[in-house]
Symmetry: C2
Subunit: 214 residues, 2 copies
């Protein structure tokens, strides 16, 4: 049965990057937040094409691998797709090149002018939707065909789904750093542990993996 999943990155003080410039859209705090994730064997292979087995294993890699498994559709906000930066360009097709690393339908939430769907190489199709999140989720769930629906981000979109009680599995990767600025990862989620079981685990990198599962 389809589950709705969210994966987030946080600092110890509960912040994720609030973004940066068009040249560096994730902002300068994103690197330290995701350092242990990028160092995993899974990411070394997927992003850098390193098939020699380089990269860390253990808990960090287990979560990184799980991120890519069993997803049949994704939902993301307009900002994550790039519409806040390049929305004026009718030919904008996201940050990911001609062959985005999804391989399934991706629903982009936008309140601006509707766009035609964009089929990409490798099985990804971008669809643009302006309806209620629950309706978009229903469509994504049907398309996912029993696989999971991942709410990709950004943080505002993820929190909207979390606060609406639409998320079954939340995984937060907490880097052992203090940012003191950014978007608050946990904003408005008081008592989530009452509806979801919590697990906490520390990887060799010092990263804390927290899951909330319904």
């Amino acid at each position: 049965m389809t589950r709705v999943r969210v994966d987030l990155f946080s600092s110890l003080d509960g912040y994720t990057s609030s973004g940066g410039t068009d040249d560096n859209p994730m902002g300068e705090d994103w690197g330290p937040l995701t350092q242990a994730y990028v160092a995993t064997r899974t990411m070394q292979e997927r992003v850098f094409g390193d098939t020699t087995g380089a990269g860390t294993t253990g808990a960090d890699d287990s979560y990184a691998a799980a991120f890519f498994e069993g997803v049949g559709a994704e939902i993301m906000g307009a900002g994550m797709f790039g519409l806040h930066s390049f929305g004026d360009d009718p030919d904008w097709k996201g940050w990911w090149g001609d062959r985005p690393p999804f391989g399934f339908p991706v629903y982009v939430l936008t309140h601006t002018a509707p766009r035609p769907s964009i089929p990409m190489l490798g099985g990804t199709t971008f669809h643009f939707r302006s309806g209620a999140v629950a309706d978009v989720l229903a469509e994504a769930t049907e398309v996912a065909g029993g696989l999971d629906v991942r709410v990709g981000g950004g943080i505002g979109t993820a929190l909207a789904f979390l606060r609406a009680g639409l998320v079954d599995d939340l995984h937060v990767s907490v880097a052992p750093i203090l940012l003191g600025r950014g978007h608050q990862v946990w904003d408005g989620l008081r008592g989530l542990e009452l509806t979801h079981a919590v697990t906490t685990e520390v990887a060799e990198s010092g990263t804390i993996h927290i899951t909330f599962t319904r």
Copy 2:
């Protein structure tokens, strides 16, 4: 050599209790924050006099026991001593009864009228100081005689010492709950990992123990 130590409790979203009423000075969120700590064998023995060995062991208990070891003096804020609630009472001697569980000099930071020191049973003496925190720390360090100085709280006092770079050892016990309200535990500490080494560890209770050590 004397080290300056701080122990704090936090939720996953970085909050500690902002306090409650005079009847329940720590507030209703304090119980869930400290539940795993209170359940330890160390606390069962110290607080409830249970010497049967009841209570949890493991990481939670190791940190609980360490809290009480090697301390030669404590510094606390006026609020923690109770002056914000009972400062009008010249006979107020804190929340801890005739035999407070310190057993060493305790320096209370206060900007209101100075009070004479209060010797208590069991080796605790309360001193009241209105000088700069660095000066109070120097006095406490001398009195500690090579043992550590603990900055006991509340959170505002702890953060003042942390932001001033006066703390050698910070331990934060993070309960696997989301409070969504309270005082921010990590406020103003961006980059503490650049001056202090960080460790993260998960106890069987799900509590995450984070240490920053210089």
